[in-house]
């Protein structure tokens, strides 16, 4: 049959009109069906579907931000974060042959049996096998190819200087946040903030599109300290040697830049290794120079004498009746172990006479003495912003009884930190200004507060220099090639409100006297090797630290190299 011919035979073909109408309706229904579906998918059910779609290819990834670095004033690294790997396992997914178990245990340095028991506990989803291992070890773990064992990147903080600056820098916790010391104090600058980002990933895990940044990562800023790592090291080394030699309980050394108040070194002993804190006692972690208070003893006398000088109550050569070493105030006896009938004001400092200092204190109004101690920075924080810094105790002058005023003159009944004491001596250096202490490197020279007139400051410097001369309490503090000045201190310790036969020996001084560059404060807690005088225990540490620091800083000599003149046997024992 031929359709073509049939077609032409019935041409033109006439179809019934209803067929077209039905077809039109069917198409229309189809169109509406599609439209309805579109509205359903794109409008009503959109959220659900979008969510499902996102779940398949859209991922939120964390953009890590690492913690800032701590460096010294010359850019030497003191603390830095570097990524390490932690090995974790999901015990339910782990299938381990005994041979693999053995290999894994040896790579991780774990006990084989302990590892097996850990992995047998299938009730847990997540267990750390070992935290913070080196990238090399992590690579070896991954090459074992054990199912269910994975790596997780973490940051770990390293301290290349080890125990030398441990208490100063402090440390961070597992999450890389500061917990102690400057790590805690400068957390706001150092801490990084991880950001997150929404991306689209393909089947192989490659990022194919950056959708949106949910929060921008903020990297931690680097912090540059005022510390000089070489001076820090030599201070620590000398302190360690002295504490061990004196069989002392502890010790601390502070080195300040006399012109700016920057801390060049701040060392404590005993110390600990911050890179391995497995067995560290809380006592070793304490920054004694900043957080511990002690009664300073005679290192406070210069402040009493300077007040009396400034007010014109005495002159440097005024003779004071020192009562043959025994002086009664309010029913209590103040005594000198080197009794003298009389001493000049200058000799009171040189030989550290308690009676002389007490008499000068009693010439002053309590309020005046209080004011000058307060102006010297006692009883207030030093400005170092170190966490846990002690402000010390300087009681209100209204509550002083005469005996308290007298003992205050030679540093009893007042408590200070070593950093405070070092800072207070800035008022005796060249410009006589009390500087704020800074642990961060300063860009601009700081402005201090002038406490005494230039004349008083110059007289005090001469008196303090006589302390290290023959006939003074600290000839052992002398440094070859430099003129130095300072004051010894030896104080009984308080236990349950009573003075006991335990001592704190100290020495605070500055050098070179012609143009003071550094202040060094040394404190030795409970020396136990027969000697406890500041002039014998602490002064040699000052001499070593000051001498080496001056050479390190290339300070020109202001004295001939053969200026050390006292035979050590002639040390005048100071009053306690």
């Amino acid at each position: 049959m031929n359709y073509a011919t049939q077609h032409t035979a019935h041409s033109p073909a006439k179809l019934p009109g209803w067929r077209a109408s039905i077809l039109f309706l069917v198409l229309l229904a189809g169109l509406f069906g599609l439209l309805g579906r579109t509205i359903y998918l794109q409008g009503i059910n959109n959220d659900f579907l979008q969510q499902k779609g996102d779940a398949r290819y859209s991922r939120v990834i964390e953009v890590s931000a690492h913690r800032g670095m701590i460096s010294d004033r010359n850019g030497e690294v003191l603390a830095v974060s570097t990524p390490v790997q932690s090995v974790w396992a999901s015990p339910a997914d782990v299938t381990l042959t005994p041979a693999q178990n053995k290999q894994l245990a040896s790579v991780l340095g774990l006990n084989e049996n302990a590892l097996r028991t850990q992995l047998a506990d299938s009730s847990r989803d997540f267990v750390y096998l070992k935290r913070q291992i080196s990238p090399d070890d992590a690579g070896r773990v991954m090459r074992l190819n054990v199912p269910g064992v994975s790596l997780q990147a973490e940051y770990r903080r390293y301290y290349p200087t080890g125990e030398v600056a441990a208490q100063l820098l402090g440390f961070t916790g597992q999450d890389d946040n500061g917990q102690e010391g400057l790590e805690l104090g400068a957390q706001a600058q150092l801490g990084g903030q991880a950001g997150s980002q929404r991306v689209i990933k393909d089947r192989r895990g490659h990022i194919v599109e950056d959708v949106a940044s949910l929060s921008a990562p903020k990297a931690g800023a680097d912090v540059q300290l005022s510390i000089d790592s070489k001076i820090q090291y030599l201070a620590y080394r000398e302190l360690q040697a002295a504490v061990q030699k004196q069989q002392a309980k502890a010790g601390a050394v502070v080195v300040l830049d006399a012109r700016t108040g920057e801390v060049l070194a701040l060392a404590n002993y005993p110390s600990y290794n911050p890179n391995n804190r497995a067995k560290v006692s809380p006592a070793a972690m304490r920054n004694r120079a900043v957080a511990d208070l002690f009664e300073p003893g005679s290192t406070l006398k210069p402040f009493t004498v300077a007040t009396a000088l400034e007010l014109g109550k005495v002159q440097a050569d005024t003779v004071i009746n020192t009562e043959h070493g025994a002086f009664m105030v309010g029913g209590k006896k103040i005594h000198d172990t080197h009794p003298e009938a009389s001493l000049t004001v200058s000799q009171v400092i040189q030989k550290s006479s308690n009676v002389g200092a007490a008499k000068m204190a009693l010439m002053l109004e309590p309020k005046v003495l209080w004011q000058s101690l307060s102006d010297s920075g006692f009883g207030e924080r030093t400005g170092s912003n170190f966490p846990g810094e002690a402000s010390g105790k300087l009681r209100d002058a209204k509550t002083w009884r005469p005996i308290e005023q007298a003992t205050m003159a030679y540093g009893h009944g007042i408590s200070v930190s070593l950093l405070q004491l070092a800072r207070a001596y800035t008022i005796f250096t060249e410009h006589g200004e009390l500087q704020s202490v800074s642990l961060l490197k300063l860009d601009a020279p700081s402005v201090g507060k002038k406490v005494w007139s230039d004349k008083t400051v110059a007289e005090m410097r001469t008196m303090l220099e006589s302390v290290v001369m023959p006939g003074g309490t600290a000839p052992l503090a002398q440094v070859a090639g430099y003129r130095v000045a300072g004051k010894t201190g030896t104080a009984h310790k308080l236990a349950n409100g009573k003075y006991v036969d335990k001592y704190v020996a100290s020495f605070v001084g500055f050098a070179p006297v012609s143009h003071p560059r550094i202040i060094v404060a040394v404190m030795i807690d409970e020396p136990n090797n027969g000697q406890y005088y500041g002039g014998i225990v602490a002064a040699p540490v000052f001499s070593q630290v000051a001498g080496q620091t001056l050479r390190e800083l290339n300070v020109p000599n202001d004295a001939p190299l053969n200026n050390v003149i006292a035979p050590p046997a002639e040390v005048v024992k100071e009053e306690v």
Partner: protein, 91 residues
């Protein structure tokens, strides 16, 4: 009129096809470039990590305690004693 209308439609169709193709290529290009960017970012991160490690290594090797120990033990050097160093003022 009718002829030019058809031609116009054909041109538009061609344009649509071309644009569609260029969209596909540029999308592809964008993804490739993004991948490169990701790689470079990863690289930068790695370099930063390595820099930190090298700095750490440097300061560990150059730690004064270590330098002093080596100088004293292997090179038989000693610190100058007090009074053995003199500073000279240049004229």
């Amino acid at each position: 009129m009718r002829f030019s209308g058809n031609l116009f439609n054909a041109l538009l169709l061609l344009l649509v096809v071309l644009l569609a193709l260029s969209l596909v290529t540029s999308q592809h290009q964008a993804r490739k470039t993004l991948q490169l960017l990701q790689q470079e970012k990863q690289h930068a991160l790695q370099m930063e990590v390595e820099w930190g490690q090298l700095q750490l290594e440097q300061s560990t090797w150059a730690a004064p305690a270590r330098v002093e120990k080596i100088a004293a033990q292997y090179l038989q050097m000693q610190r100058p004693k007090s009074g053995e160093v003199q500073f000279i003022q240049p004229k």
